[in-house]
Amino acid sequence: MIQDLLQSTPSLLNFGIFFGLAVLLLFVVLGFVTYGILSERKIMGFMQLRVGPNQIGGKWGLLQTVADVLKLLIKEDTIPKKADKPLYILAPVIAFAPAFMVLATLPFTDAFQFADIGVGLLYYMAVSGITTIGIVTAGWASNNKYSLIGGMRAAAQMISYEIPLVMSLVGIVLLTGSLNLNDIVAAQEKVWFIFLQPIAFIVFFIASVAELNRVPFDLPEAESELVSGYHVEYSGFRWAFFMLSEYVYMFAMATLTTVLFLGGWNSIPFLDFIPAAVWFGLKFSAVFYVLVWIRVTFPRIRADQLMEFGWKVLLPIALANIFLTALLKELFKLF
């Protein structure tokens, strides 16, 4: 449907349809973020032998995040006097816009996806890199030493971990012969790539947690060292934008992990009467759960360990994986 729309002549109606679809997706994502945060807090609560939010919205605290967002919206919007004002205002926008842009190419099911472009995988990697600029800008514009250190750490970390992240996926691209996410899902109809590329999966998962700036790699906003890193000076709605982009990336990264390694919307044999969307939802939720689980169980690592781990452990393993994959692929072709 989208493909036809993209090729039709432009008119106000088309614009309206695109706009409507984008708004719809935005609300789906906002809904996910609202309940993603709640479930994260609940899971963390259970794992730490606490209850978690249980006051607003019944026994399960179902309206807790809504109340939090409402609080953020009516908070005073502060801009420090010595801040670099234009950049301070622009930074949350630069950080959030790419987070929403990457969702455009992700195939959720065979019917529910927006753009089916040939280089979908690279597109995700490239566009998600722009957020780093937003974060660095925020750290700089706040004119605060903690936020500057946080911004610097974010830049160093996200650039260092983007390389093993991309390198770990070369194995998948070798096996599929395409960068198109739909082709990658189609190639996993029989065997998921998590079984064919276990090393790549481990490297990818570690690097993706680092890209998401989550514990144990949350150095850019390490609360106990930097107050809260690059967004110390932000408040209210602008701060909410940073949080929102973080969780939208979590949504996107969990989707990408599902699509690349867990077979997307493909079902397990004999269970294909269950609709594709449900399969996707189940796998997505599993990835999300593991992300929260990691957050609760690991301590934060030191900045120098972070860099050494990225460059001296993950990158060589990812490169070795490419070599191994190419070798095995050629060997299997011979027989």
Partner: protein
């Protein structure tokens, strides 16, 4: 000329690219200039996308607006580089600049207006990632390898330079 979606997108992207370029020249703070540069890079990537050169567009974002800009920001922020650049003043200078710009515009307009680029149907836009890969590893393999050697030399050189610095500092501390 009919108003197609492509044209609207091109006009928007071209406007942002030019605005970014103009801001890059007129802004006084170095960090602001880099951000303006990011917008130019991004809209150029968008124009590549319109020309259905997807791979080039994505690599443009990945390398230029992702990596290079962040390295530039990093350098500027860490070194406390001269934060402001004083704009040069002078009436005659500005006037001659205007003349030069106008002259250049007229020259380009005259050059382009009657230019005919013969359009021949090609298949370059289909699966261009694959085509680039095949060309690169069959026809242009030697330039490609030479490039990689060059990059390796640059890498080793950077490491040697960084190592030297370290030793000197240690010596100072002792």
């Amino acid at each position: 000329m009919s108003l197609s979606g492509e044209l609207i997108a091109f006009l928007g992207l071209a406007l942002v690219a030019i605005l970014g370029g103009v801001l890059l020249i007129t802004l006084t703070k170095v960090v602001h200039m880099v951000i303006a540069l990011v917008f130019t890079f991004l809209s150029i990537a968008g124009i590549y996308m319109l020309l259905s050169a997807e791979f080039v567009a994505v690599v443009q974002i990945l390398i230029y607006s992702g990596a290079i800009t962040i390295v530039m920001l990093f350098g500027i922020m860490l070194t406390k580089h001269q934060e402001r650049e004083e704009p040069s003043k002078g009436r005659w200078g500005k006037f001659s600049l205007l003349l030069a710009v106008a002259g250049f515009a007229v020259a380009v307009y005259l050059g382009i207006y009657n230019l005919h680029i013969p359009v021949q149907p090609t298949t370059l836009h289909e699966e261009n990632t694959k085509q680039i890969g095949i060309e690169l590893f069959s026809k242009y393999v030697i330039p490609f390898e030479v490039m990689s050697v060059l990059l390796l030399v640059a890498l080793v050189g950077a490491i040697v330079l960084a190592k030297k610095d370290d030793k000197d500092e240690e010596g100072d501390q002792l």
